[in-house]
Assembly symmetry: C2
Homo-oligomer: 769 residues x 2
């Protein structure tokens, strides 16, 4: 239903990327479909370039307009922060309440019968997971998964339809409540990044046009360029809200998600994150008084370990390096296994339709519930440690509360089940227990190993089901388990040192995330922000460096691999080595350039648009001397707007006066703005009479008069750098110039506003550039 | 002496930058001198572009070479980290020992006579400051000031000769020991950034060529492009070492210093910072056992305030916003005053030579000493607060130790002098006292106000003296003083709340730095890293946002203003508004393009090089049809190498075979590398016989065959973006193309290495770009 909307006028073109990719169909911009049966996605490039046509220049209404625009951008940053903060609080309250209610009910029933408790537990989880997968499959297919690869693609310049719609937002929020509350081996942090991006995009277009809740005065930002900034803010807000880590959010957006950055944007993103922090804190303050049920017991720091190990010795560097290596290996293995699982799902399982997706998610839910209930039953209980009156940790914990030392299926009163301590908690609380200090030997090595194997397997098979799923929290779970395992051995080996197993759990978590996601600075800051222990910063850095290096030896990062699997053609920041020896000419060797004349017959436009799927056409004009000149680039989307409105049709094949000002342009610039939520119009939707087809259009006022050009023998490395760093969609390859107009150097770009002081300054200074 | 070396062959060209800067002398690249008498600096642009000439292509010896290069880069990152870490430790140990010895001697003497103590105090300070200013004026003039504007300029693409020399490094290290140890109102953090950059650059060229301590195998990185990466690592290492803030260092380099960034670099910079953290920690661990005299008492966190205020109430947001506003105002005022002071110094004082600079620094040292000794004498002592047995703070502090509650000129035993508590400490300890918690009303409002006024004035007049001087620590001093003032009022007003004055001091420090330096994320992380209190993060963000916004309303950031005063033409990240309505053609309207033919007579080259000071020349060739073609860009520096070596001279005016491979190129690529420590050769240094002058050179193998081009009617905004984001030195402005070779889109840049898996992936996927 939804996906049909994206297929209008598109054939299933199959394009093989070879070492020298070149479209066989003479297809300028590449066309195609992601050929999974259920959600046929078609991706398209975004236009980040400013189209400096006459209409645009007309719009530039002086400095006041610029000031208004800047003000609006800050206002939107504020709104995005508030919106994302509230969304995060809503998700958290719902998850904590569902999970809390589930655990307290289960514990109440197992006082009488373990079998009944197990059944209730399985059924509640099943119901929650079913609600999630039902929402996703029936209502918002684009909301499945974490969404980070798609957002990364969007900010790299690729539009994947559907990822920023209102229905995706709704699906993401309610879907992740179900999937996380239902106890699956996945987290809510990735989906929150996508949620933030959706909120940003929807605010930017002033609401959803489809549901008629858009307001005209909010529609300030219709260009891809402005939307990109908003979505960047939204990403940062999502991370800031998910981890309550405002600085980590900014850095995550900077390091992992965006491909393009400038310092003004950093400041605005920072502001958005600060707003999120304030909103979340205010909500948590309100919840602390008991207004939010089970939610609100934690502080702003999620897993406070500041009471733990204060210092480290150099002897410990070896076991910590081992953690880094394990993290790199297990992380790379995780990435590789998820590739196989995703590919298998796409090629065999999900082809069979939505029903299979629902069965699959429900099956995984039942397996997860059975394992998490059954495994602790097999484990013998341990006696509580000698209670330390100063310690606040109770053993066993009071029933129904969160905490360490869960008494589950134990024969004696003063015993606890260490596996149940991990399994019978929300993931947040399980991690808190794993990170906890002053609980040496709380977990036995066997239990940790059993949990590691089970949970790793569950995380791999859960990855790619049709529910919103983040990989942060499962990654932290896996990492902290083997980290604590290494910690147990280290404690036994270096008995003299003051070592906390919780510290090793933290380092393990960092190492697994580093080995899988391959982030450095942002992950480091996030780990510090969520654990409130700055003293371990150098250790976290070390572990991350090792695990990333080990992981990079095997494969790419999780998000890059997933983006590739989903057919999102990310341009990495570094050009490929082979490009050094290729020239721009070689890269477009087999192209047949389809160009338009300046004044073009409507019938010709229609036939050209129908005959191919290029998104940009060079426009060529003749000077009075008969010389041909490339005068600019015309976008398909703008041509379609012209064809639909018809008001620029003219009877004469002669050009109108290009500098004639407003009489030449009857369009409002905003008509050319691309809507975010649909593919825009297709050539097949436009109906033209035979009279219309005989008329002409002068393209000069509408084309981009100065597309970027490169000489034909420039190396592809340089072309790649221009394309990637300026965020382009089209570059014209032209012959070498026959003459020079001039050379621009730094001096020509230094325009100073003339004030007394600077003039004085600059008269006494002159510079050789 | 030194400065003479930079004037060879340069006339004092005076160039007025008007709104549309255009050189009247037809000077392509701009030429000039910073017209201060004593250090005539001539700045020149850097070549970050890869010159893809045949020599370069020859050098590209396959993937092995690339791998070797990457390995070397990481090895250098390691060396930079170790070097900068040791330099920082050395500076810290020296400063702490000089200062500690000074304070303990003074306190010993004032037990007998206050006058003698005062004299000794003044003399020691004077001796230290004299040593510093003597080193700077006589030996290393480029080491004066903080060096951050110069490094910022370097990474923006402007070479200021002398800033990265070995003598500058030595001057910076020993000069800052003298100036900071001598008690001036300046810090050692800015100079450490410059130190890190110098170490990086010197390592990159394998030592100093002038002093013959360079080793050949280290000379891997001779291009401006590689050096830029190393200097970026060095900057981050400097900040990481100065504040023991590794993440803050990475972000400082990213946000404030560099103009150009990519994600691989981030990882390497992060590694360098981690190495610095490990080195500094190891050194401090060694010092803790008393090996380093007075140094080593502090931990890795400089001002630990984690024992202070844990939480904040919403009522406190108002006084905190007030702190932000004050910070913005005082910061902007500081920037403005330093502009006046610097300009006055340059135009009147420093014209009179080095002797005046020495007198000036000594005078300021005496004034500073008199004020810091005399002001506490005027202040009545306060009685010690009722001692809390749980508190570890002694009152008065034990003599000769660092700490709060200094007993100075007090009549009774149990009294302390609050002004002396600030003045009679190193700045680090004074800040620790100002930040300290659980010391409510230690400082009276009058004392704080007196200190604020005095220190602010001292900081302004000290700024710009000929010693190495950072503004971080003075900024923190000023900010924490008024922050604590606001704190006193808040404590009195909201008596019910649990408020610590130390928290307000911290926020004040953040706000002043934000108001003066206008950084956001990096400052935020640095403040958190040096104070070890993550819970205040949202408050620091808020205060920084306010103070930056207030400051931006008045003037630019400190480093931008100082760069402008020093004639460093920084290109900001955002093009000026006026550029939207200008085209590339207009920007180079008055230029006379000086081009070279492909095969050029040596005599012509010499006369062209002598007649102007352009640094790049277009090379023009003729096709067989007689058509002219712009075939590339020839750099002046490469022409000079060709003229000096003479081995490429030929008798015939016919081109050699350009694709002839090695027989065409008798040069090693490394001969074209620009040395970092001198201006390279000048045309006047090259002696050519009359026979030589009659010969020819074929430029084809040496020119850059694909310089970046823009069409003549591209708006200057777009041209600016290319220039700034790609870090260019020359852009050719050419007429519109007459025909198209092709259009490059994302698809053409997606080159996949053909493995089974990806081919399978990509066959099933195709994409419309």
């Amino acid at each position: 239903m939804l996906s049909n909307r994206f297929q209008n006028g598109m054939e299933t073109a199959r394009l093989v990327w070879s070492r020298l990719p070149r479209s066989e169909e003479g297809d300028l911009d590449g066309v195609g479909l992601l050929s999974t049966t259920s959600n046929r996605n078609c991706v398209e490039s975004l236009d980040y370039e400013v189209i400096e046509n006459y209409a645009y220049r007309e719009e530039q209404r002086g400095k006041l307009f610029v000031g208004y625009n800047v003000g609006m951008k800050w206002f939107f940053a504020l709104l995005i922060g508030i919106g994302t903060g509230f969304a995060a609080v809503f998700i958290n309250i719902s998850v904590e309440n569902f999970a809390g209610w589930k655990f307290s009910l289960t514990f109440k029933i197992i006082q009488k019968s373990y079998l009944a408790g197990c059944l209730i537990y399985i059924l509640i989880n099943l119901a929650l997971v079913f609600s999630s997968v039902y929402i996703i499959t029936q209502f918002a297919p684009a909301a499945a998964g974490s969404g980070i690869p798609e957002i990364k693609g969007y900010l790299n310049g690729i539009d994947i339809p559907g990822i920023l719609l209102l229905r995706t937002l709704i699906g993401k929020i309610f879907g992740s409540i179900g999937s996380v509350g239902g106890g699956l081996a996945l987290g809510k942090e990735g989906p929150l990044v996508h949620t933030g991006a959706c909120i940003a995009s929807l605010l930017g277009q002033g609401g959803s046009t489809k549901y008629h809740i858009s307001s005209r005065w909010l529609q300030g930002f219709k260009s891809d360029r402005d939307r990109r900034d908003l979505v960047t803010c939204g990403c940062a807000a999502g991370v800031a809200a998910a981890f309550r880590a405002p600085v980590g959010g900014v850095l995550f957006a900077l390091e992992e998600v965006t491909s393009w950055w400038r310092s003004q944007l950093m400041w605005r993103v920072f502001f958005t994150s600060a707003i999120v922090a304030v909103v979340v804190r205010a909500a948590m303050g309100w919840c602390k008084s008991g207004n939010c049920g089970h939610f609100g017991s934690g502080g702003f720091i999620i897993w406070d370990i500041s009471g733990g190990q204060e210092d480290y010795s150099f002897e410990e560097l070896l076991p910590m390096a081992v953690i880094g290596v394990i993290g790199g290996l297990l992380g790379a293995l995780f990435n590789q296994l998820t590739i196989y699982v995703t590919r298998w799902r796409r090629n065999y399982l999900h082809k069979k339709g939505n029903r299979v997706k629902i069965y699959e998610a429900c099956l995984i839910s039942v397996i997860t519930s059975v394992i998490s209930f059954g495994l602790p039953l097999l484990r013998k209980c341990s006696p509580c440690p000698d209670s330390d009156p100063a310690s606040e940790i109770e053993c066993p914990r009071a029933p129904g509360m969160y905490g360490n030392y869960v008494n589950f299926y134990c024969s004696k009163e003063k015993e606890y089940n260490d596996l149940a301590t991990i399994f019978f908690n929300t993931q947040d609380d399980a991690i808190r227990n794993l990170f906890s200090a002053k609980t040496i030997h709380e977990f036995s090595a066997q239990s940790l190993l059993a949990f590691l194997v089970m949970f790793y397997t569950l995380a791999v098979i859960t990855f790619g089901t049709a529910v919103p799923a983040g990989q942060f929290v499962p990654g932290i779970m896996i990492g902290s388990t083997y980290g604590r395992l290494v910690g147990i051995f280290t404690v036994n080996h270096y008995k003299k040192l003051n070592i906390e197993e919780g510290t090793y759990a933290l380092l393990g978590a960092a190492s697994f995330l580093g080995g899988s996601m391959r982030m450095t600075v942002s992950l480091c800051v996030i780990m510090v922000e969520i654990t409130n222990n700055l003293k371990l910063l150098p250790l976290i850095m070390l572990v991350l460096l090792i695990s990333k290096a080990v992981g990079d030896a095997f494969n790419e990062g999780l998000y890059e691999e997933q983006a590739r699997l989903r057919g999102i053609p990310l341009l990495e920041s570094r050009p490929k080595y082979e490009m050094r020896k290729m020239t721009a000419k070689e890269a477009c060797r087999n192209q047949k350039v389809l160009s338009l004349p300046r004044v073009v017959k409507v019938a010709d436009v229609v036939s050209i648009l129908q005959s191919n799927k290029h998104n940009g056409f060079p426009v060529i004009d003749h000077t009075r001397n008969g010389e041909t000149l490339v005068i600019g680039l015309m976008l398909r989307s703008h041509l379609l707007v012209l064809l639909q409105s018809k008001i620029d049709f003219q009877h004469s094949p002669l050009p109108c006066d290009p500098r004639g000002g407003s009489q030449g342009i009857r369009h409002n610039f905003s008509e050319f703005a691309k809507p975010v939520s649909s593919k825009g119009i297709s050539i097949n939707d436009i109906h033209l009479s035979s009279d219309d087809l005989e008329m002409y259009i002068d393209l000069a006022p509408f084309l981009n008069p100065s597309p970027y050009v490169v000489p034909e023998d420039m190396s592809l490395t340089k072309v790649y750098n221009i394309f990637r760093q300026l965020g382009l969609r089209h570059i014209f390859v032209v012959p070498r110039a026959s003459r020079m107009i001039g050379v621009i150097t730094r001096k020509d770009l230094l325009i100073e506003e003339e004030t007394d002081s600077t003039t004085m300054e600059l008269q006494s200074t002159s510079v050789r550039l």
